[in-house]
C-alpha cells in the first residue's frame, strides 16, 4: 500500500498546532487574573493605603496597615516554628533513607501535605483557641491561649501547612549532593554534626532557601485556617494572644461586604498579596540561579 505521506504530514501539523494552542491557552487564566487584579487594585494603592487601617463605612480613605502587619507577624511566627523543624526533619530523611522511621515520617509528610487547609484550621481551633483544662489532681494545665482567637493559633495552623514543603524540599536538595562530599569531610576527622552544619547545609543552601520561599508563598494566601484561628481585627494589633488581621482574611471579609468602598479595599489588598507572591517567586528563581553551587 502506498503510504500517504501528505495526509500524515497534515495530521502531524494539526497535532502540533493543537498542542501549541493549548500551551498558549494555559497562560491565559494567569494573564487575565493578573490584568484584572492590577486594573482593579493598582489605583487603590498609595502610601496612605499601606499605612492606615480600614475606615468605617461611609468614610473615605483607609488602608490595610493592620492586615499587612498582621500577615507579616503571623508568617514570621510560622517560619520560626516551621523552618528549623522542617530543615532538621528533611536532613534526617535525606541522611537515613531506607530506615523505618524515614519511611513512616516521609509518609506522614506526604499525607500532611494533602490535608485540606480548613481541616488544619479546625484542629488548631480545638487545640489552641478553645479553652481546655487538663485536671491532674494536683496541677491543672490550662490552655494558655484558650478563649480567644489569636495570632499564635493562626501561626500554628500555617506552620503545620508550611512544614511538609520545607521538609520535602530540604530532603530533595540534600539527596542531590554527591556522597563524596560527605566522605571528604569525614575523612578529615570532622565530626558528623559539623559535617552537616559546615558542609552539607551550605552546599544545599540555595535549594533549601528556595523551598522556604516557596512555602511562604504557599501559605501567605491561606484563608481557611485563619478563619477559626487568627480570625481578624479592624485595628492595628501587635498582641499575638489576640485576634489579628491578615491579608487574605481582610480580602475575604471586605469583598463579601455590601459596600463599594470596602470592595475597593479588598481589590487593593488582593493586588498587594499578589505582588508578595510574585516577588517571592521571582526572588526564589534568582536565588536558585545565582547562589547555586557548582558541584
Amino acid at each position: 500500500m502506498e503510504p500517504r505521506i501528505g495526509l500524515r504530514n497534515t495530521k502531524s501539523n494539526i497535532f502540533k498546532g493543537v498542542i501549541v494552542f493549548f500551551a498558549f491557552v494555559i497562560t491565559l487564566p494567569l494573564i487575565i487574573v493578573l490584568l484584572y487584579i492590577i486594573k482593579q487594585g493598582v489605583t487603590q494603592v498609595n502610601w496612605h493605603f499601606l499605612t492606615h487601617v480600614p475606615a468605617p463605612v461611609g468614610e473615605t480613605g483607609g488602608g490595610i496597615a493592620n492586615a499587612l502587619v498582621g500577615s507579616i507577624i503571623i508568617i514570621a511566627m510560622s517560619s520560626i516554628v516551621a523552618i528549623p523543624i522542617g530543615m532538621l526533619a528533611g536532613i534526617y530523611l535525606s541522611e537515613n533513607p531506607g530506615t523505618k522511621l524515614a519511611y513512616y515520617s516521609g509518609l506522614c509528610v506526604d499525607i500532611l501535605q494533602g490535608v485540606p487547609s480548613i481541616v488544619v484550621g479546625i484542629v488548631v481551633y480545638f487545640w489552641v483557641v478553645k479553652p481546655w483544662v487538663i485536671d491532674l489532681g494536683v496541677v491543672h494545665i490550662k490552655n494558655p491561649f484558650g478563649g480567644s482567637f489569636s495570632a499564635v493559633s493562626g501561626s500554628i495552623a500555617l506552620a503545620i501547612m508550611m512544614m511538609p514543603i520545607v521538609i520535602r524540599s530540604t530532603e530533595q536538595t540534600l539527596r542531590l549532593l554527591p556522597p563524596s562530599l560527605k566522605e571528604a569531610a569525614l575523612s578529615l576527622g570532622v565530626p558528623y554534626h559539623r559535617v552537616i552544619i559546615k558542609v552539607i547545609i551550605p552546599c544545599g543552601f540555595s535549594g533549601i532557601l528556595s523551598g522556604i520561599m516557596l512555602s511562604i508563598a504557599r501559605i501567605i494566601g491561606e484563608t481557611a485556617p485563619l478563619l477559626f484561628t487568627a480570625f481578624g481585627s479592624p485595628f492595628l494589633s501587635y498582641a499575638i494572644g489576640k485576634p489579628m488581621e491578615s491579608l487574605p482574611h481582610l480580602i475575604y471579609t471586605y469583598a463579601t461586604s455590601p459596600y463599594d468602598d470596602w470592595h475597593n479595599l479588598a481589590w487593593g489588598a488582593s493586588f498587594i498579596l499578589l505582588m508578595f507572591v510574585l516577588i517571592l517567586n521571582i526572588v526564589t528563581k534568582v536565588i536558585t540561579r545565582k547562589w547555586k553551587i557548582q558541584l
Binding site: L181, A185, L188, G189, V190, P202, C203, Q294, L295
Partner: protein, 252 residues
C-alpha cells in the same frame, strides 16, 4: 619490625553477610609507597577504607581483627583521631564546592573548629600546596572556588587538603582513575616526593602504575592478601601462581 607504622593481623571486614576482607595480615613500614592491587571486588578498597575507619560509615559494614597504627588499635581509638592521623584521597577529586582553594586546603582545621592564627594558616596553605605541587599554579587565585580547577589540579588540591592535617599515613583510593594521562603523571611524580614525610598506601587498578610508583605491592584476590613483597620482586618473580596469572593478564 621497628619501622612498622600500620599493621594488620587476622583482619576481616564484611558488608552485611558478604565477607569482603578475609584474614589479612600485613605490616607496612614508614615512609614507603605501598601499592594495593587486585581485580575488581577483591576487597582492596574496603581494606583501605578500614585503615581510617571510613568503612564503618556504610550501613551494615562491620570489621573484626587487629589493625594497628604504631602500637594502638585503630578500632579502639576515636575514629575522629584516627582520621586526623590517617588522611585520605578519593577516586574522584572532591574539593568542597562552597569553599575557595585556600579554604579547601585549611578545611581540616576550619571544619573541625580548630583555631589557627592567620599567619599560621597562610603557612600551612603555602606549605601544603607546595608539597602537592600546586602552589605555582594557584598562588594568584587562592580565593577562587576550588571547583574552577581542572580535574588533575582538583586532585592535587585534595592531596594538599590531606597533607595540611599533617597525617602519618595518606590513603589513596584509585587516585588517578578519573584523571587524564598528564594529570596522572603529575600525581605519580608527587608520590615520590611525598614519601619522604609520609607513608602512602595506594589502591590501584593499574599494574603499570603500581610498578612505577611503589616500593612494595600487596596483591589482593577474593578478599585474601595473596602476596605482599617488594614491587620489583613481585613483578619479576611472583611467588604465588594467582599473582603470576594476574600480572600476565590471564584474568583481571
Amino acid at each position: 619490625m621497628e619501622n612498622t607504622i600500620v599493621s594488620a593481623s587476622k583482619f576481616n571486614a564484611w558488608f552485611g553477610d558478604n565477607h569482603v576482607v578475609k584474614d589479612v595480615s600485613i605490616g607496612i613500614e614508614k615512609n614507603q609507597v605501598i601499592a594495593v592491587m587486585g581485580p575488581s571486588g577483591c576487597g582492596k578498597t574496603t581494606f583501605l577504607r578500614c585503615i581510617n575507619r571510613m568503612h564503618e560509615l556504610i550501613p551494615g559494614a562491620t570489621a573484626k581483627g587487629s589493625l594497628k597504627l604504631y602500637n594502638d588499635e585503630v578500632y579502639t581509638m576515636n575514629p575522629i583521631y584516627v582520621r586526623y592521623k590517617i588522611g585520605m584521597v578519593f577516586q574522584r577529586p572532591n574539593p568542597f564546592p562552597n569553599l575557595s582553594i585556600y579554604d579547601n586546603v585549611i578545611a581540616g582545621y576550619k571544619l573541625n573548629g580548630l583555631k589557627v592564627a592567620k599567619a599560621d594558616q597562610d603557612n600551612i596553605v603555602e606549605k601544603s600546596l607546595t608539597s602537592a605541587a600546586l602552589w605555582k599554579e594557584v598562588k594568584d587565585s587562592l580565593h577562587k572556588k576550588g571547583t574552577f580547577l581542572s580535574g588533575g589540579q582538583q586532585q592535587r588540591l585534595c592531596i594538599a587538603r590531606a597533607i595540611a592535617m599533617e597525617p602519618e599515613v595518606i590513603l589513596f583510593d584509585e587516585p588517578t582513575s578519573a584523571l587524564d594521562p598528564i594529570s596522572t603523571s603529575s600525581v605519580e611524580q608527587l608520590f615520590h616526593e611525598l614519601k619522604a614525610n609520609y607513608t602512602l598506601i595506594i589502591v590501584t587498578h593499574n599494574m603499570q602504575q603500581a610498578a612505577r610508583v611503589s616500593d612494595k605491592t600487596a596483591f589482593f584476590y577474593m578478599g585474601e592478601l595473596v602476596e605482599f613483597d617488594d614491587t620489583k620482586q613481585m613483578f619479576t618473580a611472583p611467588s604465588d601462581v594467582r599473582t603470576q596469572n594476574y600480572i600476565t593478564g590471564r584474568f583481571s
